[in-house]
Amino acid sequence: MSLLQKVQQEVIERLGNLSITARQAVESVLAGQHRSVRRGLSVEFAGHREYQPGDDLRHLDWLVWARSDRYDIRQYEEETKLRAAIVLDTSGSMGYASGAQTKLEYARALAAALGFLMIRQSDAVGLVTCDTAIREFLPPGSTMAHFLNVLAALEKVQPGGETSLATVMDEIAERFTRRGLVILISDAFDDPEAFLKSIQHLRHRKQEVRLFQILDSEEQSFPFRGMIEFIGLEREPTLKLDGDRVRAHYQEVFAQHQGRLRSGCHAAGVQLETCSTNQELFTVLIRALGLR
């Protein structure tokens, strides 16, 4: 199944079948994210409508009120486009799979689904694939043709190399000068301090950041028994360990890492969504979009 087919199945068929309310909710969630971005950008005037309680008073047309003593609200022809960059971690650790699919396969499906949703509401979506450095860069675009390019780029990514998200995020912060949204899809198996620092750098550059952390269930439960030879996917030294004996220690270190990541994201105003590869993509999307 191609990535496009998968996106169609996961997003169009399932989200498309949602009720109008739900679809509007999806859109509003995304639109809600744009509000701060839109302010201060050039807009095209479309007309007036009568003020309704709850309308933002900033959009009240004071000139009309001065002239006619009517309360009219100014309306615009087109909403401002959201500029989003999906950053996909393709490091070696993303190649791990305990089940049918690797974390990278799961991550690119998620990236495609999010990209599709944004293109569908006329936002601009770009793609960055990276490990220790940026490997592919597609600037944001809002056409379906551009989205197909994004999908093609996603189709050909392969796991490999080490992880250095901090370096990559710093570079992205330098490249994205305009306000926008950065969606980072990664296992975040990196030094949390450096990573969070780079996130703050992005935030400092007025970028909204959302982190989708992709994990495999075995990486959390560490179910190995007996003597295991662990071979690193990012060229780490091989380790021979007794699974039973190191489980508790591993889980403790892992939990510490997750804790630091969670608190760091919270402090930086970054929404962290932890996903497991055995979760259905659809449910992750629903949860991420705030429908549940």
């Binding site: 198996f189 007996g226 939990a255």
Partner: protein, 729 residues
Amino acid sequence: MIDLLNPILFGGLFAVAAPVIIHLLHRRKLKRVDWGAMRFLLEMLAKRRRRLFVDELLLMLIRVLVIACIAFAMLRPAVHRRYGGSNGAALSRQGRTAAVLLVDDSVSSMAGRAQPAFDAMKRLGLAYLESLAPGDEASLLLMSQLGAPPSDPVFDIEGLKANLLSLKPSYVATDIPALMEAGLDQLKRHINPGAELVLLTDGRKDGWHEEDKVRWDGLRERLRGPTNATPGTRLRPQVIALTPASVGFEENLAITAVGMDRTLVSAGRPGGIRVTVRNFGIQSSRDVTVQMMVNGEVTGTKPLAIPAGGQQEAIFNYTFPEPGSYAVEASLLNHQDLLPADDRRVVSIQVEASLPVLLVDDTPSPGLENKLGFLQDALDPETGQHGPFHVTRISLVQLTASILQDYRVVVLGDARVLEPSMVDALERFVVGGGGILVGLGPDTDREMVNRYWARNGAGFLPCPLAEAVTPAISPIPAAINLGHPVFDGFGARSDEAWKEAKVRSYFKLDTKQIKASDMDPLLTLDNGDLLVAERRRGLGLVTLVATSLNADWTDLPLQAAYVPLMRGIVGHLGSFIIPPRNLEPGGQIIYARAKDPAKGLRAEDPSGKPLKLTLASWEGRDAVVSEPLMEPGVYVLHDPNQPKPIYYAVAVSPAESALAPISDREVARHFEEGLSLIHTPEQAAESLFPARRLSVELWKWFLLAALGLMFGEAWLTRRETAPATGRNG
């Protein structure tokens, strides 16, 4: 001081290597996994490497210690120290005590003037039992019950005291080595670690069987146990000899033997009943009267004077009126000594009308012809007219297996050949109690005889034959076994009897494969070769004459000595009543000749009480067996198929009459080391009461430690392997 009470399990300590081996094997079974989250493993190792290593080492150590503790517990280590009573001569005891009281309740323990030695022995036994504490176990083993099914040890010491007090002496003979052997076997039934063999004996020297060095060597080896065995444990038990002070031996007369002056007792023929009286005391005894009774009727009395340490024989002439079983009883009248039990002796005597003898000849003919003519004439000169032997002479071809059951003695005279089935029948005949006399001669086929009759000493012939020889100078019989019953009829002139009895030809006997003790040489030639030899085969006897029984090879049949010699041999071969009727205390009546043994049989003890009879098997035949006969005296068996009752006699062992005590030094010599010798209850109290249990067995502590370590191991393992739930959520 720590000792191992169960060192035989020392090899179990090697099991401590098991955890290390399992660990190494476990490490060899590797599974490979491509792993993404290596940074956490590396971070974990950076932080916890030392702790993981220490934990692993600790776990390994705990597992090794668990196994070591269990292995040590099974070795039963005990901490003890030697301690002493007020005189410093107290026993050393190893924890809880397992005591086996070996009670010599033999006849001699009845000896004593004011009170029997057995009472003093019981007091010593009680003094010993007083020294035992709750938790100690003990068992009683009586000399009179050796061979009976063993009983279990008891912890009820008070019950055991009552049991000891109720004991009475028996009439069995003393056999201290056998009692000690049984005690060592009984110790295996005990569970307590400390082991004591407590010998309660009257201290009579004869019962120790000092002459039997082989048995004592074996016994000492068993008592010594393994080299590293701790004294006072079951591997090397403490021996305590409780012997009362000597009851004296200055005065004891005993009837040591009663018997006939000939091997074959015939009805209607006068014979002499010999009664041997021995003075075991240190003073001469005069005016001792011996009374003779036959079947309960007094037949005569005789006075005797017996010097100290000597013996005298009284002979009572008596003619048994008719064939059958007789009870002959001799007793000392108006006499009192230390041991009354040996002042009376009974024997059972079987009187025959005539002894049925089967002569197997080539072609029997009357007179002195053929191989056995001389023998027939010697045994039955009047051919069946009231002689002591009833002889039947048949040819080899008439010999069948079924015919043998009607005879007590079979004579083979220079037989050429025997059918294999006949050889087998003869073997069964002699094993079942019959007698066979084999004569050789010119027709003897040595190869055939050796192959089928002798079978390298396993057949019925006493020994294989070597070559037949005809010396240039014919040898004559030179040495005879004078003490043998065969020669009872020769008297003092035995040397004269053989002067002209030249043996021209004879077979040398090949005795190399036969133990000297198995074969009894009766007559030896002047050149040293055996002429007549006897060997017991099963319950019967076989006598082999190396020359002919007629005049073909020897002048012996032409000599006067031939008749008493042949009568002596044949009479001796037929004199054994099987199953035996003269028994020792503890023996049983075995009656195997009845056609229907169960029907109408009854037996009585000396007091007239009925005896319990049971059906059993004896030598492959149906038989009736009585309960053990413990009291000396005459027992009577009534068989409705027999005209007269059958008498069985139980008599005490003559060896029990020697009351001379064994010295402490001699007792100590039997046990090498570790012997406690106690003569009085006061000594017992002195030596045994301070024996407080200062020894502590450590096995339970080792097991507790193992249990604690196992809990520790489980906790450590659980701590390491339990998932850290909730910490990464």
